[in-house]
């Protein structure tokens, strides 16, 4: 079941002094969509990125698209295809790697699947202004 909506996360980190900028490139399989960070309905499960190890973390989420299913009076906003999530934060002195998760609720062509989390990690190396 999980393989149906398995997503691929490629994290890349840029480090500038004590600041990190991590870009998660996420590929959602064809025929799969996930909820955006701010779903159209508050009861739906939002996509959430976590990053452990950084302080003062902020996440920039990709903008959703409106999925056209022919509904007359309902809107479904979704994330699909290739996405970028941008994480920024301050690096504590003793941290050399950041790990986190991407929590999401997917739907495939014939079914909606329970929420799940895919984990990711990336080493931190000085890459900007070095």
């Amino acid at each position: 079941m999980d393989e149906l909506a398995a997503i691929d996360i490629q994290p890349v980190a840029e480090v500038d002094d004590d600041r990190a900028r991590i870009v998660l490139t996420v590929d959602i399989p064809d025929n799969v969509h996930i909820e955006p960070h701010e779903p159209a309905d508050p009861f739906l499960i939002p996509t959430v990125v976590t990053a452990n190890g950084l302080d003062d973390v902020s996440v920039e989420y990709p903008a959703p698209t409106i999925k056209d299913l022919g509904w007359h009076d309902a809107v479904l906003t979704v994330l699909q295809g290739r996405l970028e999530f941008v994480i920024t934060g301050r690096i504590p002195h003793d941290v050399s790697e950041v790990a986190g998760g991407l929590s999401y609720q997917p739907c495939v062509g014939g079914a909606c699947l329970p929420p799940r989390t895919t984990v990711w990690s990336v080493p931190l190396r000085e890459t900007v202004g070095a």
Binding site: M1, D41, W71, L76, Q105, G110, A111, C112, L113
Partner: protein
């Protein structure tokens, strides 16, 4: 009882009676809440299609057949009652709302979909039963022709009730 060893209900099968709790933990016998016609609907709180359809399910789709004796029974699949109760609370459903925490009852209704667990394949399914609890219609989630107003279900019920009247 091992539900996995039992066959899935298909059109023409008689649904065996069962007991599930409501959101307050009170046991509800299925046969006590079915009617002349019964729409059995499977849902979860996290299903976006279910949430989109929910405002119209009872007040529009089922209410439109009240004179024909259509009852609604909602079954929440594999969620604790404390979570599941958000649905009737939010949408004001008055119909029986049953909590199938382990999914064993729902599994009997689930279609066979390759790669999908029964408790997933059954979500957003609509089954129409007659007064003898015989499955007369089944509609499973199809995103390409999904409609919040349940157009296909409504048409099927109209046809079934018409048959009933002729019979």
């Amino acid at each position: 009882m091992q539900a996995t060893a039992l066959p899935t209900y298909t059109i023409g099968d008689t649904v065996e009676d069962f007991v599930l709790p409501d959101v307050d933990g009170n046991p509800v016998r299925f046969s006590d809440v079915t009617g002349k016609w019964t729409l059995v609907y499977f849902t979860t709180t996290w299903c976006p299609y279910c949430t989109a359809e929910a405002p119209y399910l009872e007040s529009e789709l089922v209410a439109g057949f009240a004179d024909a004796g259509l009852e609604l029974v909602v079954i929440d699949v594999k969620e604790p009652a404390a979570v599941a109760r958000m649905l009737p609370d939010r949408f004001g459903w008055k119909s029986p709302f049953l909590v199938d925490l382990d999914g064993a009852v729902s599994e009997r209704f689930a279609p066979k979909k390759e790669g999908l667990a029964p408790e997933v394949a059954i979500i957003n399914a609509h089954l129409v039963l007659d007064e003898n609890r015989v499955v007369r219609f089944a509609e499973y989630l199809n995103m390409e022709r999904f409609d919040v107003h349940g157009v296909a279900v409504k048409a099927a019920i109209e046809e079934l009730i018409g048959e009933g009247h002729r019979g």
